[in-house]
Assembly symmetry: C2
Homo-oligomer: 163 residues x 2
DNA sequence: TATTGTTATACTCTATAACTATA
DNA sequence: TATAGTTATAGAGTATAACAATA
């Protein structure tokens, strides 16, 4: 087909037009599908977290603050693949609403360990339930076995590069 | 453990500190792993596409323009989950470098069909090879069978909601 | 000299509303 | 009136550089 040829598109309804594009090379690329799954998933998670005045990024920090692992800001930055300066803003946000505190690491006074307050833990419990609902929606077409398959495969590509 | 308790973190090297956070609830959430896989994947893809002066978003539009499906801008917006105004900017970019053209849909003069020029098709061939390399890197720890499993599972969660 | 947290800045991505031309 | 493309704008996400305190 040449570029100058007259455009001939089978007349379709708006609903089927996107179906048509699912048969393209792009739609079968892992990078594309991953990006699309994330777009759908985080969009849904953000909407569902709005009632708690959280977003996925602040939820992530809160979750790690509740993990019992006592992460420093630097560790949060590394693990969440965010710049340390972004962690500052996220921790500020959570600290201002009383959900977490910055505690001095007695072994290194440069480092600040982020821990959740009792209120922060309560907030996290609610948020974790919301995220569980969001995940159930994302995975609603998959069987329990398939969900674990996907989790296992995703883990291997999500954590391969940066540690 | 109470919030006021002294912070006790096992002294670890920077490399193992992030390992430690992989045992948290957050790290096992589908939403989180998907977001992280996308972050790693699209970051790598953007880096590798830089030599062709493309990014994943402009590559996506170019790819669909080369698909033979003659998508309209509206169809691109729907399929790529982007606002129509973003498509304008992306098509402008590709049109200005001679990779695609806007062609009037003879059946609806409001609609513009995006088709690749011969130069655009040549650019796409190079870019598609780059994306293939990027995908191979993302999936390097998976067997061929596992890659197809992941592709199949991802497809079912990526295309479930919007059509 | 190197690292942690911080501030500042700019660029990309995303979301929304309003306008025009066609249907 | 409804839809396709466009323009404009604001907010969220990402990346980089520089600085003070500490190691």
């Amino acid at each position: 087909m040449n570029v100058g040829d007259p455009v001939q598109v089978p007349k379709t309804s708006p609903e089927t037009s996107a179906e048509r594009l699912r048969d393209t090379d792009l739609a079968n690329e892992i990078e594309f599908m991953t990006a699309r799954a994330r777009s759908v998933g985080s969009g849904r998670a953000n909407s569902m977290l709005a009632g708690l005045d959280l977003r996925v990024r602040s939820y992530s920090v809160l979750s790690l603050a509740c993990s019992g692992q006592n992460p420093s800001q630097r560790e949060l930055a590394n693990f969440l693949s965010l710049d340390p300066s972004q962690i500052v803003a996220l921790v500020d946000l959570l600290e201002n609403r009383g959900a977490v505190t910055r505690e001095q690491d007695p072994r290194d006074r440069r480092s600040k360990v982020i821990v959740a307050t009792p209120g922060g833990r309560e907030l996290y419990l609610q948020a974790a339930a919301v995220i569980q609902d969001a995940e159930d929606q994302s995975l609603r077409d998959l069987s329990p076995t398939e969900r674990e398959q996907l989790r296992s495969l995703l883990r291997r590509i999500a954590f391969e590069t940066a540690e």
